[in-house]
Each structure stands twice: as structure tokens, then as C-alpha cells.
């Protein structure tokens, strides 16, 4: 099976804190990691390769330091790594990102069987790049994929939904977005780490993709971020005393404001 895995290097947002004084994100000292669900996608690809044979190629779009993320995926057992990096790609929203990724796949892996990616990145939190890439590749998709069985070119995918799961059939080529419940990603082995740095990671720039400027980066992004704020993290410290009915009423009102009920 010719499998392409799309990964993203992200800051570990579980470690990000808000500075109470400046109200901005404290990014200093926050380690960069492979987006957790992308790691599940890599694990899924490696399992499929172990079962059905083939090749696992890992692709990431990012600045030069995203190389480290590729190396980690290679250390886990992926075969080849590709870094899509070009200053023209910067500032891309999910549409432009999908454009760059799908063009890369069409150019470098024209005969792919399966594209896997994590369902959602923990920095953007959109879960949009997977389906947009599938659309731009012109292949069917299954999102929230938890299990995958392969039989020839037929895929049987278990898809997680809110109140249970669905079983979906489709044929390759296809794209799946993988959820965290799908598997437990393996640790890279020590020899895997050293071997990962023996291979060349291929750089892909716009010279390879030949996209026009208007399709790239910030220019090619239909959505624009106009403002960012940090939510107020100060503890409210509101104390309700008196009869239970009143207190509860007040509490529920506050919880509703925070959309917690």
C-alpha cells in the first residue's frame, strides 16, 4: 500500500499558559511536538504497512524546524520524509494549506492508495485540512476514523460519531482522518532515532509545485484572522449565600453564561 501521512508540528498547547499580567500566551519553553492525532495517523499507517506491506511517506508543511517532526515519524518507522517549506506558503488558512498539500500529493505521490492525517490539530483546532485536502484531491473521505481494514482496494472503516459508531465502506484512493482512540502510538526506538537522521528529507518548495502566488499562503486564504484575545483566567470568586433555591439559580445562570450546561 502506498500511504501518505500528513503531519503538523505544533506547540504543546496542553503546556501553554496565559500570562495573567500581560494576558498573552506564554509560548516560551513550550516544546514543539507532532500533533497528537497526527501521531495516531502515523501509527495507523505503520500498522497497515506491517499488515499489508507497502510504503509510508510522511509529509509536513512548515518552517525548516518542522524537520524534527518528520525525523520523529521516521524514527517511528516511516520510510521517507518530505518537508514542504517556502516563505510563500506562510500565513495559509486551511483552504490554502489544503491546496498546497493536495498539489504536493498529486505531484510527488500520484499513485497513492491512502492519505492519513489526524482529525484535528491542537493549535488550530479546526479539523478542516483533512476534508479540504480530500476534496482538492478528488477522493472520498472518512473522518473520525478509529479502525481500518483493507481488502484489496476496499476499505472498511469504523467511524466514531457522537452516540456510537458507523461502519463505512469505500475504495482507494481515499483520505481518512484519524482519532486519538484509534491506537496508542509507538515510541521511536533508539536505533530508529539514529537511522532517521541517516536518510535525506526531501524539501518541496513552490518551484516544485508551481502554484500561482494568488493561491498561496496569506494571499490564497479566504479567511483572515482579524483579532486574537486570551480568555479571562482570573478566578471570579463569586460566593452565593442564602437559600439554596436562590444560590442554585445564580450558579446555573453563571454556568449557562459559560455554556457549561
Amino acid at each position: 500500500m502506498n500511504i501518505v501521512v500528513l503531519i503538523k508540528q505544533v506547540p504543546d498547547t496542553n503546556e501553554v499558559r496565559i500570562d495573567p499580567k500581560t494576558k498573552t500566551l506564554i509560548r516560551k519553553g513550550v516544546p514543539s511536538i507532532i500533533n497528537p492525532e497526527d501521531k495516531n495517523a502515523v501509527e495507523q499507517a505503520l500498522t497497515l504497512k506491517q499488515k499489508y506491506g507497502g510504503e509510508v511517506n510522511v509529509v509536513t508543511m512548515g518552517p525548516p524546524q518542522a524537520d524534527v517532526a518528520l525525523r520523529e515519524a521516521l524514527a517511528m518507522g516511516a520510510d521517507k520524509g518530505f518537508l514542504i517549506t517556502d516563505r510563500f506558503f506562510g500565513g495559509a488558512d486551511t483552504y490554502a494549506t489544503a491546496k498546497t498539500l493536495s498539489t504536493t500529493i498529486k505531484t510527488v505521490f500520484p499513485d497513492f492508495d491512502l492519505v492519513l492525517c489526524g482529525r484535528q490539530a491542537i493549535d488550530g483546532d479546526t479539523a478542516q485540512v483533512g476534508p479540504q485536502t480530500a476534496e482538492q484531491l478528488g477522493v472520498p473521505q472518512v473522518t473520525y476514523a478509529k479502525e481500518v481494514e483493507v481488502s484489496g482496494n476496499k476499505l472498511t472503516v469504523t467511524r466514531e460519531v457522537e452516540d456510537g459508531y458507523e461502519v463505512i465502506e469505500l475504495t482507494t484512493p481515499a483520505l481518512l482522518t484519524v482519532v486519538k482512540d484509534a491506537n496508542q502510538p509507538r515510541y521511536p526506538s533508539i536505533s530508529g532515532i539514529f537511522d532517521a537522521y541517516e536518510v535525506d528529507v526531501k524539501k518541496i518548495t513552490n518551484d516544485d509545485l508551481k502554484l500561482v502566488r494568488e493561491e498561496l499562503g496569506l494571499k490564497g486564504s479566504p479567511t483572515k484572522v482579524v483579532a486574537t484575545t486570551t480568555p479571562d483566567t482570573q478566578r471570579k470568586g463569586e460566593v452565593f449565600t442564602g437559600n439554596p433555591k436562590e444560590c442554585c439559580g445564580n450558579l446555573i445562570d453563571r454556568l449557562n453564561q459559560r455554556h457549561l450546561i
Binding site: 485540512v129 476534508p131 456510537g164 460566593v239 457549561l260 450546561i261
Partner: protein, 335 residues
């Protein structure tokens, strides 16, 4: 033809309109009133026309119905093809979806199909001075709120987080139009097939992944108190936690323990009942986004870290709280 009107996908499953569809209708209504235009709902399914009335009662001016046995259940291809035709035909100004497993599967596909911008999981929608949709949403795991615009492409699309927007109180006297839309649909175009749908009970969520935790401490005075804690947790859709004192007293097993020698948790909501707030306990939960404390002692240390606190006997307060939450939820989902 210019783009106009606020459109929503009236998501239905198994012949029932999803609650989030009513919520986004409410949001659409408020946006349409600002922009002085109409709210149009798209209803897709097999034999679902009768659901149109309730959409109109909840704020839709027009309901476009697309019916076919091919769309009895959701598939990406069928819905994408249908919405592509709807969008090309009617040129909506704004298109909203619920951020459900359907909405988050479909909306990005449509966005790429028609080449427009999409904002995910919005918690706020408004119109700015230029008449553009202002979309506010959490990023960075909730540590950041971003406001997004889509100035040059149409429709401006968003998926909207369920449980956030307020739906309108249904008005049976509201009038609207129900229009059949004949979308071209060919089963050859449907590349995925749903062969099985299984309703599975939610697996027991572990403490560290739970979004809502209700914990009991020494203030419960007896192990039976945990039944009340469980009821409250169930109402809030959460799991039960405990302080070390409660676990050491044998009232509940140690895998519920939150704290220095238990688990460290960071849920959206942590409700501490009868827990004094010893430093060992705080070590395990002070990172929770919203902390509620219920305690008889107004000087309990837990009040220093709580967002909201009720001073009172938890055996009197919690039953009242459970009842009020029940009625609040009934109000929210009534249609």
C-alpha cells in the same frame, strides 16, 4: 445576482432535527435581523418535509427541502453535491452548520468545492460595521479566542459549536415558505457506503480526559453521599471524583482520587462538594477552567480558587441544583 440571506443546514438524523440546528437558526435569525435579510434553512433527507414547520417556528423564513432515498442517511458525497448546487443556485451570503460529526465532515468539503472560507467551531457570530460576518472561535486548546472574517469569498461559512447559541422560543404562529429543491443526485456519485450504524453507550471516561468532574470530600460525612454526587455528575454529563479523605475513609475507590497522590485533572468544569481545599487536593485540580465549590464552611480554602461558590449544606443544595439543571435542560431542548 448578489449574495444574500443567512442560510443554515438544518441537520437531521433518523427523521429528527438536531438541537444544534435550532440553535443556529436562532443565531441566523439575530444575524438576519441585523442585516435586514431572510433566514433560509436547507433540509435534506428522505420523507422529512414535515419537519419544515418546526424550522419555521424556530426562525426560518424559507425551508428548502431536498428529498431522496439516497439521502436517508448522511454521506459526504451526497450532501456535498447537494449543497454545492444549493449554493451555486441561491448564492447565500452566509451559511451555517452545527459543528457535529456531520457538520465538521461536510462543511470543509463544501468550502473547498465552492472555494470559500470556513471557520470551525464558532462560539460567537456577529455582523461588523461593513456588514461582514464576524466569527469568533477558540484555538490553542481554548487558550486563545480568534476573530475571523471572510471578506472576499462567498458564502461566508461557519460550523457552530453545539450548546452555545440560543435558539428562539418556538412560535407556532410564525409563517414561512416550504420550497422543494430538485437537486441532481446520482448514486454513482456516492463513493462511500454506510453499512452499519451502532449506538454504543459512552465508554467510562477516565478522570484525566473528563470535561466535567463532580468531586466529593469529607463534608459528605457518609459514603452514601456519593450517590448524590453521581446524580449531579450525570446531570452535568461528567464523572465522579473524590478527595483523598473520602478515598482513605473507604467511601469510594482510589481511581476516583484527584490530587497530589491521585490524578491531576484539567476539566472545563470542576465541582468540589464538601471539600475543604487542602493543598494536596488543589495540586490536582487547580488547572480546571471553571471551579465551583459547595461547602458549609465559608472559610474553606477551596473558596480561594473557586470561580463560583455556594455556602451551604450540600445535602440541601445539591438536590435543588439537580432539579434546576434538569428543568434548564428541558427548556433548552424543548421544541
Amino acid at each position: 445576482m448578489e449574495n444574500k440571506d443567512i442560510w443554515v443546514l438544518a441537520e437531521q438524523r433518523n427523521g429528527k432535527i438536531m438541537n444544534v440546528a435550532y440553535e443556529i437558526l436562532g443565531a441566523a435569525r439575530r444575524l438576519a435581523d441585523k442585516k435586514k435579510c431572510e433566514v433560509c434553512a436547507v433540509l435534506v433527507g428522505d420523507k422529512v418535509r414535515d419537519l419544515s414547520d418546526s424550522l419555521i417556528h424556530h426562525g426560518a423564513d424559507k425551508v428548502y427541502v431536498v428529498e431522496s432515498p439516497l439521502v436517508k442517511d448522511y454521506t459526504t458525497d451526497a450532501y456535498t453535491n447537494i449543497l454545492e448546487q444549493v449554493i451555486k443556485n441561491f448564492k447565500p451570503e452566509v451559511f451555517l452548520y452545527g459543528a457535529t460529526t456531520i457538520g465538521r465532515d461536510l462543511a470543509p468539503r463544501v468550502a473547498s468545492r465552492v472555494h470559500t472560507g470556513l471557520t470551525a467551531d464558532c462560539t460567537g457570530l456577529d455582523i461588523d460595521e461593513d456588514g461582514l460576518l464576524l466569527q469568533t472561535r477558540p484555538a490553542f486548546g481554548g487558550n486563545l479566542m480568534a476573530t475571523i472574517k471572510c471578506p472576499d469569498y462567498r458564502p461566508q461559512m461557519s460550523t457552530v459549536r453545539p450548546g452555545v447559541m440560543e435558539k428562539l422560543a418556538p412560535d407556532a404562529k410564525r409563517k414561512g415558505e416550504v420550497i422543494d429543491f430538485d437537486a441532481k443526485l446520482d448514486d454513482k456519485d456516492l463513493r462511500t457506503q454506510v453499512v452499519k450504524m451502532v449506538k454504543a453507550a459512552k465508554q467510562v471516561v477516565n478522570l484525566e480526559e473528563a470535561q466535567v468532574i463532580v468531586s466529593g470530600g469529607r463534608g459528605l460525612k457518609t459514603p452514601d453521599g456519593f450517590e448524590l454526587i453521581k446524580q449531579l455528575a450525570d446531570e452535568l454529563g461528567g464523572v465522579v471524583g473524590a478527595s483523598r479523605a473520602a478515598v482513605d475513609s473507604g467511601w469510594i475507590s482510589s481511581d476516583h482520587q484527584v490530587g497530589q497522590t491521585g490524578k491531576t485533572v484539567r476539566p472545563e468544569l470542576y465541582v468540589a462538594c464538601g471539600i475543604s481545599g487542602a493543598i494536596q487536593h488543589l495540586a490536582g485540580m487547580s488547572g480546571s477552567r471553571t471551579i465551583v465549590a459547595i461547602n458549609k464552611d465559608p472559610n474553606a480554602a477551596i473558596f480561594k480558587v473557586a470561580d463560583y461558590a455556594i455556602v451551604g449544606d450540600l445535602y440541601k443544595v445539591i438536590p435543588v441544583l439537580i432539579e434546576q439543571i434538569k428543568s434548564e435542560k428541558e427548556e433548552n431542548s424543548a421544541s
